[in-house]
Amino acid sequence: MKIKRILIPATLLLVAFLLLNCSGPKYSLAPIKTSDPDRMDIPKPDQKEENQYWDLADYTFFYQVEKVLDLGWSAKKIGKGLNVARGKPADNLNVLDEVPNSSWYTNRHYHNPMSIEELKRGPNVTDGPDYKTPWMITSGKFEGGTPGFTIKDGQGDYYIIKFDAPTFQEMGSSAEVISTKILYACGYFVPQNTIEYFDPTTLKIGETAKVEENGQKRQMTQGDLVAMLKTTPRRADGKIRALASKYVNGRPVGVWNYRGTRNDDPNDRVNHEHRRELRGLRSISSWLSDADRRAANTLAVYTTDPESGNKYIQHYLLDMGSTLGSNNIIPHAPKYGNEYLIDPRTIGLQFITLGAWVKPWEFDFRNLNPEFPSVGYYESEIFDPAEWYATYPNPAFEYTTFRDAFWGAKILMAFKDEQIRAIVGEAQMSDKRAEEYLIKTIIERRDKVGRYWFDKMNPVDKFRFERKGEELYLMFNDLAVDGKIEKAADSKYLYTLSYKDKGLHHQKFVENSVLLISKNGNGFFDEILQKNQFNREEEKIFSIALQTQRNDKKLSKVVDVYFYYPGFQNEPRVVGIKRHE
């Protein structure tokens, strides 16, 4: 009877797991999807307010229980534990395992390398506020972590002006500018953030400028302004450093969540936790120590497409002031990034072990007295990409699969050392030692993230055919070698060319990222197809199973590359990539 009691639920879960563990399509003969049509004209959506308390409580407690009660999720979790299932793939992938452009994401630096100048410019559409006329203050914010105000410049553009904490000068503003440019190059929508040095006499208080004090709004006065700027450090020339964040085009309609879809947006069809760009953001956030990736730091903007005139919601990431070593006005606490704010795993482990387990970051107090106040707390020794966590559970990050994390890792590995150096330079840090430390740490963390996720997958990508005389080659990039975390001399590639799941030759090792597919051009393919009398298009698909080996050690996971040979001397083209996890 007891066995029955165990067997029946186990069978049910197994059935559930089998139900949910079906695999998706491997390739398509259709053109590669490069854009998701989610920028169709929609009616103006409602304002969606942020809710910080419930967001924290929900994702920390209630959502965690909810996941377990979803038997499909539980079955998959068990299946993953038994190594017979994999995580649910993202819902917005094309056959090349890539994310088409959308109102969420634009493929930028990884696929089309940006120049140093483009990286430095980032999302900027202006050079910052116009200095030719006074800056008119339209509203002020005296409460909260970062006091500041909103100005309107002579060009009619609005900017939010924020100041660094006096004890950590340049920290918050530097983090904001650097991470903004990096996230932009990664492909996300971010506002324009620039460092400004302005003369306080540039400021004029507008008639409509209000400040909020003890929950009450009142007219802003010169005294408010003087009080705000009293503790703000000034340069020798009397100018004040500030961050100017330009209002984005369109009408803000609140935040967007990392789970579900927005009811009043017909374009929003993919559950946010199943968007690849949000899942893969976990890798990028871990790199930048961007633990505060939550709904409150997002912005949905009802905007107009200048070409089509369509009005739709564009999705922004905000508040990069709590990235790198900064948590806006104070340095990051070592806890953030290493565990959740309330983390049952670390609490439970310490409780059960009677305190014998010591958290690696528990006695890291560098945040209290950082060596470089303009950097804050940003380190690369304790940092572990596998064990990186947001401030509290982020559903998209929780669903991140190896494929998603690898996708994020390959994007961040596309940033070369000199490019990082150029981007950090945009923060205009006065302490050059601090700047050097920051650059060094960003590079070290980048390599840590890349090394970890590249090791979990097969880091080969950018497949393309090339013909040299009669010989046809499939070329690819080994991203680990490109990123200089592995040496080309230590790398070998094992591959098999197959047709209809049958190998056309024995497995072959090659020393470089060039695979000889055919010695006599297309004749090789024509021969196979004619021999089998296959004429239908879907029968003209070949595949290559590719693995990477470093230092003659263990082989990596497999990447299957599907390509279509259209015949009649036409070039083959890649029609699918399947990355095994």
Partner: protein, 456 residues
């Protein structure tokens, strides 16, 4: 039960078959036109020229029927918590919590307020009341605090305190408190084999008393207390304490209240005057967690009855605390040890009211026993605690308490120690607020303790 399980099996298998069939159809490109449009990556049977432009086909998250069915328990859970979530969101968006707090403050500086109070458990039982304070009355750092709690006509309390932390200069601290206290159920354990005529300190709450000896008495006390403290430096403090109290004792409403012996010393009305001094040596390190070092406290008070000569005694209390970091772990895993010796001596032939005897059995000393379980002219207490952090401001604690009461010091005996063991969780704030939840076990019972004060 078995029918239910079989039905579930049948449902799952049916869903499995139907789901598999749908998946198969999709992969072969034979499903509906809608599915064909959606799954643009599936293999088509026409030439590549005839494929629709995938950039015109939007992505969409979809769940199968099976996935919907399997997620029903999760949906029910979500539904159950939705009202709470909506309420929290409404509260935050309308700043209700801030407005609510503002409502209770009496001025813009937020230095004066009137808050409602709700009490669950404690001396007065479940009740309600109010708390008011003004932090800057008659000058800065001069606080007036008043509190009133009402549970019933026989269980209620009222306190009014004036504190001045800069009395006669910044090194002096004074507070004066007037209090009224009424509790209809306090525990008292009297050995049943002692006749009422022979009752004395040795038979009230003695080490050998048993739980069945429980009686109950009611206390009504009106008092005024004052403390004048002088801080010599960060480590040494001196204090002078005086009090004037009138106490009325009667039979209580709790278990054994009917058998409360009204001829016991102190069972009638008495007015006591007390004056004493304290010395504190604090060589501890760490805040809010004390991580290492020592604390020593010495207290002496002279107590006499006013208007009569029945009661008179002096009280000596010595306390030592030691905090020792675990050498092979880290500084915030530490052993905390406390020893407390208390001794009361009569003035000649004068008596000690039973409610003034040294007592053990409390959330702050001998946990695992009823409140005021043991009483005597003296007591000796040891607390051993292993404290370790489990979260930013949470500590877990494992403890062993040992204590005994005695009438004469020569009656101290290792065999008389009462033991309580337990574990708990403590929350502390940077401001020093502490909340602790502990489970304690003694030879008599298990106890769950919830306190908002530290033990040491």
């Amino acid at each position: 039960m078995s029918i239910f399980i079989r039905a579930l099996c049948f449902l799952c298998i049916t869903l499995f078959v139907s789901f598999d069939a749908i998946t198969f159809a999709k992969e072969k490109g034979k499903s509906t036109a809608e599915t064909e449009n959606q799954l643009n990556e599936t293999v088509h049977e026409e030439s590549s020229d005839s494929y629709p432009d995938p950039n015109t086909i939007p992505y969409r998250s979809k769940k199968s029927i099976a996935q919907h069915v399997l997620s029903i328990p999760a949906k029910v859970w979500r539904l159950a918590w939705t009202p709470l979530g909506e309420t929290v969101i409404w509260v935050e968006q309308n700043r209700i919590h801030k407005k609510a707090i503002d409502f209770f403050y009496l001025n813009d500086e937020r230095s004066a307020a009137l808050f409602p109070l709700v009490s669950l458990g404690g001396n007065t039982g479940a009740g309600g009341g109010a708390m008011a304070f003004h932090n800057n009355l008659f000058g800065k750092q001069k606080q007036l605090f008043a509190q009133f709690l009402y549970s019933s006509t026989r269980s209620n309390s009222a306190t009014i305190t004036y504190k001045d932390s800069s009395f006669f200069g910044s090194s002096f601290y004074i507070d004066v408190t007037g209090s009224y206290f009424n509790d209809a159920d306090e525990n008292l354990y009297i050995s049943s084999n002692v006749s009422p005529e022979d009752l004395d300190e040795s038979s009230i709450g003695a080490n050998n008393s048993v739980k069945d000896d429980e009686t109950s008495y009611a206390t009504e006390e009106l008092g005024i207390f004052s403390n004048l403290n002088y801080v010599i430096n960060d480590e040494i403090g001196l204090g002078i304490e005086t009090s004037f109290r009138r106490t009325d004792i009667d039979s209580g409403d709790g278990r054994g209240g009917d058998s409360f012996p009204e001829i016991i010393q102190g069972s009638d009305d008495a007015t006591l005057f007390s004056v004493g001094g304290t010395m504190t040596f604090n060589f501890s390190n760490g805040w809010p967690r004390i991580l290492s070092g020592s604390v020593f406290k010495l207290g002496y008070s002279y107590n006499n009855e006013v208007g009569d000569s029945r009661y008179g005694y002096n009280r000596l209390k010595v306390e030592a605390q030691q905090f020792i970091p675990i050498p092979f772990l880290t500084t915030n895993r530490r052993i905390a040890v406390r020893g407390v010796y208390e001794r009361l001596n009569r003035h000649g032939s004068r008596q000690i009211p039973f409610y003034e005897l040294s007592m053990l059995g409390d959330a702050s000393n001998l946990r695992g026993f009823d409140q005021n379980r043991y009483r005597g002219r003296g007591s000796l207490l040891f607390n051993f605690e292993y404290r370790y952090p489990v979260w930013d401001t949470w500590d877990a604690v494992i403890f062993v308490d040992e204590g005994q009461v005695f009438d004469e010091s020569d009656k101290l005996d290792i065999a008389n120690f009462h033991t309580a063991i337990g574990a708990g969780i403590r929350f502390m704030s940077q401001a020093g607020f502490l909340m602790r939840f502990e489970i304690a076990k003694s030879s008599e019972q298990w106890r769950a303790l919830f306190q908002i004060t530290p033990n040491f």
